[in-house]
Symmetry: D2
Subunit: 342 residues, 4 copies
């Protein structure tokens, strides 16, 4: 099993040192024995310099093109703004680099398809950063399904509420709730229950009228029908005042498996007022830290072991199709078949 | 506060000594100081005799007409088959008896309206047996809303799964899942979040093909839109192998409140296999015992204190409208406005 | 199994209609098919009259002697003050009545032994009211031991805290914390782990100096050594501001089993302050209602079926011995063997 | 606040690359920005080489003396066998190195005192590795006390059970359960409730007779009396088959605070057998990872900021005194005042 190549080190370049990019840099620097971050870049060169210093990255490139031109770099990690994903994927692929790209690839399917086509021709590996698939809870739910513990899947429920809405400026460019938030839930749904064939989205503006004014919704209840006949429900809110609420449940013919929220401590305080505990972990960086680390480890492993990436380009495309269907469903108030989306 | 009339005893007659009827007889006999069960009847006279003996009921009538003809009886408790509800309500009302009637009044709206019209003309009180409104958990959720604890209501979720399907024979006459099972969830939805304006039902036959052959579904995910702008989701399954699953959650601008399942004991057993507890209470008679007792107490109280019944005839009608809309929604695969239902 | 005698009705007399006596009267009147409360008495005749009316008891006797002189009465339920237990047991036994007596029999062993001796000579049944043995949680812990689920018992922990201290007047006559409160925990210890051979009690006055002034302690941590080699710990406080705290744990070679507190509802409320639930059930009458009902049912059953009572006179004596040893242990600050207690 | 010295890097040497030493090396290499591990050593030079390679430590010394002789090294981390702690502390202090030393310093008080005396004369900082003080749960319990949330402390309970006994060879040299296992609980007790004045230890051999044959016990229930009048209970077992059991509770005049076990995932699986979850984290390396990292961070911070170490030499001495008292208590079966221990 352990061949020579299994113990080699993968040389990586990274673009975009925002919250997620910085976390990926840290993971490569501190967690991954078989990877080395040899260069990074960002449109904000100061940030790039700072992250490079922090994690001992030897080189800061002035632009992405420098990374892909570096023959010593085997693969790139793309954490820059969404609108750069497709051009960067294409450039990287054309230079023969393997690619890890943050979700979503793009909101436009033809753009995505162009990128996937270039990747395929180039024969490089492309993995999309749907980190939740690597979360211990979601892995355990997956195991409950795959092992037969819960029997044939019947129903899926994803409660997914953010602690606070993003800035209105972000909402205006993100594609909206279905594209920037539910996209993760669409991916988890596919990961757990397989292909989706139809979606119905009930949604509204209940949290903040400014979100509505920006053309988006902040509250949604989405029904999914799966190819296997199962039914799912996703509940989203842009604001749960008690913090990040991430609870998932799979129900089947032989039982159910359900996950709970995560907390910074387990302490319960009992007073003459209540039996209470502190709020859950605040947001995705706290709650999903482990999964971000694990996904990058899986990417490096698929390079070292030359196996298919665990989250493919098509896995990156599929939730965008669902999001598009959800948006039409909401606007036209009707169930929408994914086959309608071209 | 305590007037003469407050301490009087209400004389009741009861029809139908099936599971629920027997439980109501027991509640009157053993729990309610201000009520007395003076006669009961059932088409199975042997059962009637047996229940009468068990709870010290002095008289067994041969038919419902005997009960309503008895001038010493002030109110009747109707627990007989659903198709008898409307004629019995009408007879009772015409004899000036107050009425407690098990849900549903009927599946046909014109039948319901006929009954409600007679009740109104007769000026008697009619209370419908939506027992869950009297459950301690659901009362606590209601209080979390009414007190402002959770702020403005945004989302409702009702997970409602039975431990095992009813007999196929029952399914053939019950009106199906939306009418015999979800009807309770529709009522709880209205109790917690108010009027429903639209419903979308995704459903299927995943538990048992025989249920499908009988023309019904056994699995459903139902989206509700409320008049106040909130959105709800009801999940039903005819079979949760681990037992009766009844979990409810209300989410709003200031927080959420969620209930959990009920168990016969609180003991957790830790072995080298797992950290486990025994299964939850098996079914509605075990889980909702307290609410059945409380609702009958509320009925007697509204007679003694001459106040409006806490669950009115219109409360009995409204969930039937939602169930009808849900059935159309499922069959036509589209959201259905309640205003479509005549 | 079901003989003629199995369906007969046991005629009972009851003395003492305080909180527990009233509850027992209610249980006989409303829960126990095979028992009938034919007479009761209390030094407060008004209270006796009131309880008799409430539960339909046909006769109020002026004194206990009237009850035992009534040839139609088969057994007596003694719920009067502790100092009357021994004389009433003796009188009842001498009249051939079976006896259910609230705990403790007495604080003085020679008094207890006198009573037990008379009972034995008379050949009547005596059951002591250690209700917790009939609690669903404690029964489940017992089953975890008896079934081998947790293997060989190693350690026992009983956390037992009251919501508020009793009146100082009560403390002055009760014998103190070990006799009026821990006595239940000593009994549960024996029920679960068998004979105790040694006790060490660390205790103090931390809740209220007035309790110390009355010669008692309000806080105790008691170590038990069992005949089987296992070790136990009992923790008592007279005041847990959040309510009645009753949590028990048995630990053995193959695992552990632990019970939790009981609540009036299961609802968790999440706000921007905390994830909280309401306080547990307030005190023993709320928490242990079911066990009080079950113990009286067990008493009636042992009469109807002519089987030994499930909690014997010796079971009533043993915790008093432990309490005496605990008191010596506390006063002399040393472990005390039960064999020292004569 | 942030002076020049605050941003400097502390150069560390480390001795002993067993489980804990390796973890500390990893923490310095990957977590602590202000520390650098410049050399390490171990009697097993191969292991030393391997750990050095793994975490990029530039130098492997052949013996501890080389570390302390290196003028570039500011502080040493001692993770070698317990019997080396005192000589290594003395050598390091005499070379003017600050010291982080794993617990326990030694089992012999005169040895400890000799070391502490040399440290004091040398004016170096000494911090003892009682990692649990840095655990998020225990920190939260401490805050519940310090903030007044639970009022005046009355009772402490520590349930502390290992998943499996150590090898018999280890037990023979460790000083036994009170010295190698309870020592942590004694420290946590002091951390939470302050000085202990008396101890009573009930203990036995219930897990494995071989442990008894080696002169040790494997099961203990220990009562502590604190200087502030509060009472504590520690429960230890060498083997909880379901895994590492670490639950702590502080109870006071205004309430209680209690921690729970930690798990690798939050998923609950419901089947027709039980409602179950996977076993807790296996042992201390998994459960207390965060606290090991945090304690070393605190050590580095106290060097950088020139503040007193948060766990002092006297904090290292005190639990040894309690352990000695516990051993006498067990052997003589009596409560032992700490003032008896010289």
């Amino acid at each position: 099993m352990t061949s020579h190549s299994d113990s080699r080190t993968v040389r990586l370049g990274l673009v975009g040192v925002g919250r997620i990019g910085r976390l990926h840099a840290q993971t490569v620097a501190r967690q991954l024995k078989q990877a080395e971050l040899v260069a990074l870049t960002d449109i904000d060169q100061n940030s790039a310099q700072q992250v490079a210093r922090e994690f001992g990255v030897p080189k800061v490139a002035t632009k992405f093109q420098e990374l892909v031109a570096d023959p010593s770099i085997e693969a790139v990690v793309i954490c820059s703004a969404t609108n750069t994903h497709v051009p960067f994927i294409i450039e990287a692929a054309q230079h023969g680099k393997h690619i890890f790209c943050e979700k979503p690839i793009a909101a436009d399917l033809s753009e995505i398809d162009k990128a996937l086509s270039v990747v395929e021709k180039a024969g490089v590996k492309l993995m999309i950063g749907f980190n939740r698939r690597f979360d211990a809870d979601i892995q355990r739910l997956k195991k409950a399904i795959d092992s037969g513990e819960i029997g044939t899947p019947h129903m899926l429920r994803l409660v997914s509420r953010d602690p606070a809405p993003p800035p209105i400026e972000y909402i205006k460019v993100s594609g909206g709730l279905f594209f920037d938030m539910t996209i993760h839930d669409f991916d988890v749904s596919r990961f757990l229950f397989g292909d989706v064939v139809e979606v119905y989205a009930a949604a509204g503006v209940l949290v903040d009228p400014a979100i509505g004014a920006a053309g988006d919704v902040d509250t949604a209840m989405i029904t999914l029908k799966f190819a296997n006949g199962a039914i799912g429900s996703i509940e989203n809110s842009r604001r749960a005042v008690y913090g990040y609420d991430q609870r998932f449940e799979v129900f089947g013919s032989k039982g159910s498996a359900a996950s709970a929220n995560h907390y910074a401590n387990t302490v319960t305080v009992s007073t003459n007022q209540s039996i209470a505990r502190d709020l859950p972990l605040y947001f995705f960086l706290e709650r999903y830290t482990g999964s971000y680390q694990a996904e990058l480890g899986a990417f490096v492993r698929c390079l070292v072991e030359d196996t298919p990436p665990p989250v493919t380009g098509l896995d990156g495309r599929a939730p965008v199709v669902i999001a598009q269907a959800a948006l039409i469903s909401y606007k036209e108030n009707r169930p929408v078949r994914l086959s309608e989306i071209k």
